[in-house]
Amino acid sequence: MITKIQEAKVLRTFSKGGVHPAEQKLSADKAIEKAGLPKQVSIPIAQHIGAPSTPVVKKKDQVKAGDVIAQSQGFVSSNIHSSVSGTVAKIDQVIDASGFRKPCAVINVEGDEWADGIDTSADLIRDITLSAEEIRQKVLEAGIVGMGGATFPSHVKLSVPEGKEVDTLIINGVECEPYLTSDHRVMLERAEEMLVGIRILMRALGVEKALIGVEHNKPDAIAHLKNMVEGEEGMEVYGLKVKYPQGGEKQLIQALLDREVPSGGLPLDVGVVVHNVGTALAVYEAVQKNKPLIERVVTVTGKSLAKPANLLVRIGTPVKDLIEAAGGLPEDTGKVVSGGPMMGKALQTLDVPVVKGTSGILVIPEKEAKRTPEMHCIRCSRCVTVCPMGLEPYLLKQLAQQERYEELEEQSVLDCIECGSCSFTCPAHLPLLDYIRLGKSHVNQIIRNRKSK
């Protein structure tokens, strides 16, 4: 048994900033349940960062679960598969979790037939027969994207460009967002498959070392994984100090390896590739079972929710179905958020579909949902203290508000990872991140214009 002081010394973490919001992992002990099939799914055609895919189905087409419904366009793009079997009702604009209307394939569910070649049995297949190139191809075809929420196409992360060298794979099991427990449950219940997934990722990258980082508030997962990796060569599990935003890849790399990703750089620049535990599981299923990414574990949680749960959900299921499965929408609901409370986004309607990046659905009661009125900045510099990227949020906000975008660029506003620690900690309740995000979009626009000239 280690005391708190010892713990602080023993456990690794990132050096700059960070906050510790109340953990609220209400659904941590709830086993993953299979959610019922919805009547209708709406699957967004673009669920990833990069070029949107082009739909290859049309109205009245019959599809099976696992059929490609949208083909990737270009390198940084991903395939989209049907998550159910049924008839395509229409390709229409549907409001998704981003808050805007996006093209979606709306499919009426009929039965549950799977496309040929998908192994739906629960048998564990350990032997990896494919080469690195074949694995990348499989990952691309299966439409796997980063499942921590950023939805960056995974095959891109597996293709190491010429001149770059990767020596370590980091598996992100941190789950630093309060409330969310989907990764936690995956690590507990699907560890064996996940470890094979990690082996596959290691082979694709050609690395000998894989580190799994898990925050110390999940001792059962750490113990279980430590048990599992015994005898697995090159794999190590680390318990990390509980600190938000440790799940940010730059923070996690620093916590585990003490390497700092340079400003504007990628983890590749320090020889690291980071994948989420959910992604590792999806890679296992794609490579060993031939199953594309059409379902994921989603935490449905909230203080006033009757039955917080971790559900295995088909992509495209409307959020209201999930809330129904968790005991229905409580009367005192103020906000429903897709993702965690720190970085998640409030939803406009409950018809929003679950996408590949949906890690959780959080129901916030009315009294906690409202923002506190803004006051004046008292120059306490708490935002500077907590910024994990070493930025000065108060300054960035002012510059963005005054439209001084060139200075904003000089202040490295693009390094902001939008973790929200500054807004969370601000005693004057200033909407720091809101303005920083606005500034970022302007600066990005300026840079694009400069490049196109």
């Binding site: 805007f100 209307r101 406009q348 309607t349 409202k370 923002r371 809101d434 995000r437 606005l438 979009s441």
Partner: protein, 294 residues
Amino acid sequence: MTTTVLYTILSLSILGAIMAVILYIVAQKFKVYEDPRIDEVEDALPGANCGGCGYPGCRGFAEAMVKADDISEFNCPVGGNETMKEVARILGQEMEEKDPKVAVVRCNGTPQNRPQTSQYDGPSTCAIEATLYGGETGCHYGCLGKGDCVEVCEFDAIFMNEETGLPYVIDENCTACNACVTACPNDIIELRKRNKKDRKIYVSCVNQDKGALARKVCKVACIGCGKCVKVCPFDAITMENNLAYIDPVKCKLCRKCVEECPTHAILEVGFPPRKKKKEATEKQSAESQDKAKN
């Protein structure tokens, strides 16, 4: 005593004289030639520094005009034709008259017409709300109602109407400086030709959704039915992306389209009340046709 005073005065005078000479030499050596017309032109401009001309302030605009050979492409939206004539006189050029313009808010989504479906809780600016989602109502194109346009107006020409939640333009004060047009993230505000007596006919909607969807979220949305296009005798109305647009230059203010619009998305402003429906339209159409022939 007196000698001290004398010496002081003397030494200071000499020092002053030497400094004056040095200053003079330096001033001559580092003199920057500036066209005296720049000052003149700047004096002729309104001095609002609003940036409506696209240059950084009136001084920048004056410099650009003095430098250019031909100023016919330049326009000071605030000063209008009179100012530009004065500038042309100073620079010894001719200036064509330009149509004065006025800002028009193209959304009529009052809470009655366009019910609220969600509540936005973030910072009260349209710019941020627009990056987060489609807005508090079902319409993803219309006014967000946070008043970024009011904030940027230097001329007290645009205000929020508390009841409707929409901005309204005070035509006398509007100088068509374009500030509100650029501030609006949804491009609702347009600079349109200023007509006599500030009369206006315009499509008060920017919703590009298909008719059924647009109608569902807002009672007065343009549904893209095309009736106005057919009825317009001057080909002033075009239909693009399920949205009608009335060309302010071609429009002769006959008001036929206003009556035709099934959702009342086309507004008429500043007209006297109509006479009996039939008479009025016949008379007007006759008049307008006459005008067209002339």
